[in-house]
């Protein structure tokens, strides 16, 4: 599963390290679907991750999120499978041009579609290229002995990873080339799985909607139904603005992707800070003009509304200039 994220965000202190990776193998998993194997150029283990995690790859000026298909144990290789999108807007074309030996940069792994540890059973539903995070789920479920089944629908001849899936899942796998058949199967499975079952779905929007609606109609609690939707887990890099320091007269430009805090520090203005994540309250600065764009978890609603303070580590400005009492 693929999603396009906003352009590069600044990595602040405490953020995940950027990974430099080398493409070590390229293979075609199905028509239009390319599987890339990535490793550290010097070898060594890559960070472990929960099943269903994605890697954010820099590809041709964009940042794309691709699901990791492994079981999540720290390993020497990551694998992703990328569907070539014909309109070419998403950067998948750039990925399809990569060859063994190419270097790429990435952040992550990032987790937003993890299994639920208390689940008695997991129903995994995949449509098309949406198989990738669920392959990871299935591998981890096999490794850790968790109960699951996988329903995989794809267009005729377009199934990816089929041999691996059969070997991995055995009779826990149901493959459907016919949509009506897939939906009927989902309906009957959701109707009779035990209490405490969770369903995880990834695929085209109509498939996700069908699973959610069917589960809802059958009385499944919403927190038992999990859909892979790439949320912009990274903070948006935001618009550039200028910080004007009322007392010193200094004007500090804050580019997109750089925090107000980092820009002030780079300009030699000392600002106390601790978490750099908008939770600790250390970096609060008094605002005398301009509308703060609050992105922190610290300020209370009335303080936000008052607009006379800003948390410099994450928040920005809704206007071109933010005047600070500094």
């Amino acid at each position: 599963m693929t999603a396009v994220l906003p352009a590069p965000a600044a990595t602040g202190a405490g953020e995940q390290a950027r990974l430099v990776l080398e493409v070590s193998a390229v293979a075609d998993a199905a028509p239009g679907i390319r599987t890339l194997t990535l490793r550290r150029p010097g070898g060594g283990l890559l960070p472990g991750h929960p099943p269903g995690s994605h890697l954010v790859l820099d590809c041709g000026g964009r940042r794309n999120a691709y699901s990791l298909t492994g079981d999540g144990m720290p390993a020497a290789e990551y694998r992703i499978s990328v569907l070539l999108c014909p309109d070419g807007a998403g950067g998948s074309a750039a990925v399809h041009r990569w060859r063994a030996g190419d270097r790429v940069t990435a952040t992550g792994p990032r987790s937003a579609f993890a299994p639920v540890s208390t689940a008695r059973h997991a129903v995994l539903v995949a449509g098309g290229i949406g198989i990738t995070p669920l392959l990871s789920h299935a591998r981890a479920a096999v490794r850790w002995g968790r109960s699951f089944e996988l329903l995989y629908g794809h267009r005729p001849g377009a199934g990816a990873h089929l041999a691996e899936l059969h070997a991995l899942c055995g009779d826990r796998l149901g493959v459907h080339e016919d949509t009506a058949e897939l939906l009927a199967r989902i309906g009957s499975v959701l109707a009779d799985r035990p209490l405490g079952t969770h369903v995880h779905v990834c695929g085209p929007a109509p498939l996700i909607a069908f699973v959610e609606d069917t589960a809802g109609a059958l009385g499944w609690p919403a927190d038992r139904v999990h859909a892979e939707r790439f949320s912009a887990a990274d903070l948006d890099p935001g618009e550039p603005f200028v910080a004007r320091l009322a007392r010193s007269g200094l004007r500090v430009p804050v580019p997109a992707g750089t925090s107000l805090l980092a820009a002030l520090e780079a300009a030699g203005v000392a600002v106390p800070s601790m978490c750099r994540q908008g939770v600790c309250g250390e970096c609060r600065l008094p605002v005398t003009a301009g509308r703060p764009l609050h992105r922190d978890l610290y300020l209370a609603e009335p303080e936000r509304a008052a607009g006379d303070a800003v948390m410099a580590c994450v928040s920005r400005c809704a206007d071109d200039e933010l005047e600070l009492d500094l």
Partner: protein, 325 residues
Amino acid sequence: MTAVLLPERTTRFPFPFAADSYRYSTNVEPARRVAATEAGTWGAGVLDVDGEYATELALRREVLAADPTRCQQLPHMRVAAWDALTTLLPELAATLPGVTALRVRGDRWSWRNDLTATSTSFTVGDDDSLPGGPLALLGSQIQEDVVLLDQREGSLWADAGLVTFAADWSMGFDVGMRFLEVHGPVPRVHEAGVVQRAEQFLMRLQPGQEYRRTNWTMTVDRRLDTSTETYPVWARDRRLVVDDPALPDRLHLRVEVQHLIRLGVSNAVCFLIRTYLLSLRELAAVPAWRRRLGVVLAELPEDVAEYKGLSRFRGAAVDWLRAAD
């Protein structure tokens, strides 16, 4: 410049006060940054092994033998427990080169630690290969207490842990609770949004991210096991110490360096608590610490002092700390 040579316990002590007054806050910062104090530094790594290593691990063994409920693990925390072990053993190997050896061949791990006379092999994920389980092995190798939090239904749950050095709480009582429930007894933090913010922050941690914070209280004598379970043994000392001429030697500032790590494989949050004790007399060897602790203690709101269990002796402690001015 002071010419006095300070002991390691002092130079590595994570003195927690950055100002003359103390209030609860979501005081988290990235881990692995060396923090400088008036007397030295702390915080270079996630695990800390110091001169108390053997003593504290022996004490943990005794406490566990007397009360196995200090180690808790709900069944769904199996992966998280393995994850904690396989994340932290390599960390410990890096912290203790020479006296430890870790060999990894696929899922087959061998671990040797000369300081604890440990030599063991196990298969990751195979509970039968490690009698006692991953948490027990981990707890026998590191000075830190460990809590593992599961993330589901929009909350964190304290569903496993090995905690022998709790500051007046109980792992056996808290196991299975949500993060907000665990913090139920703490005054002020709910109204101030401190724990809600902390939980939001923790739930957004990505695989491998590591943060830390400090917390503090005071303890009579070098007693690490101040769990709720042993309350009858230690609580009365808080009253008795007031009139004891040995108060500056018996009363200790107790600081916890807490690490918050998102474990990759299991998605659990690993909470490590490392406890340091420094007596008022040891602390007073650093004049800035002596002055600051005196001011902070005197200024601390009564509800916080009461919750931390300082009310009985705080006046006497402040008097002693100030007498030197």
